[in-house]
Symmetry: C2
Subunit: 109 residues, 2 copies
């Protein structure tokens, strides 16, 4: 099965969670997500998500010069972002529970 479809709607939460830990820029968020186990995540997806979240008003943004490459566009959570994260994480957990009900009923052997 392709995990691409599973990511839908979840990448938002994942990115928010990673940034809450510590402010991050795109390239770095990609690495942190991959390190956490989302191995085959695409760069374009993360950059796209960051832009979407920022334009939705959930993130702050500031640019920092780098000593090893181009400048970095850092993102951080604001209050709206933190609230959204809490909310989405709760929705996710509830969803997982529901799916567990659906899946464990299977062949009640």
């Amino acid at each position: 099965m392709d995990t691409t479809q599973l990511l839908k709607g979840v990448l938002d939460v994942a990115v928010l969670a990673v940034i809450e830990q510590e402010d991050g820029y795109g390239y770095d968020v990609v690495r942190r997500l991959r390190a956490a186990g989302l191995d085959d995540i695409a760069e374009a997806s993360v950059y796209g998500t960051l832009r979407r979240l920022f334009h939705s008003g959930l993130l702050t943004s500031y640019v920092v010069a780098s000593d090893a490459g181009p400048h970095r566009k850092y993102y951080g959570l604001n209050d709206v972002g933190r609230a959204q994260l809490a909310d989405s994480a709760a929705t996710w957990k509830q969803f997982v529970k529901t799916m567990n009900v659906v899946l464990t009923k299977e062949s009640a052997a």
Copy 2:
């Protein structure tokens, strides 16, 4: 948060699981999924998923006359479907674990 996006890729597994329990027809699968907690699932999504899974060769299909309405198109799992279900369920569980890592690292306070 909208659960629509969370369903992506997961509805397949959910439908397969429900059908493995017992053969079912569209209208009935919808009710069983809703009963399990996927309240706001749309009929069109389930019928679409059933057709997709059938055409992918995971389901068998047979028509039964009903005593209370039009005929019913029942679906059942074949071996390919059962294998796919096992596989997808495993992928899902792994994905949930990964997401748990991502989410619980959050604010390691």
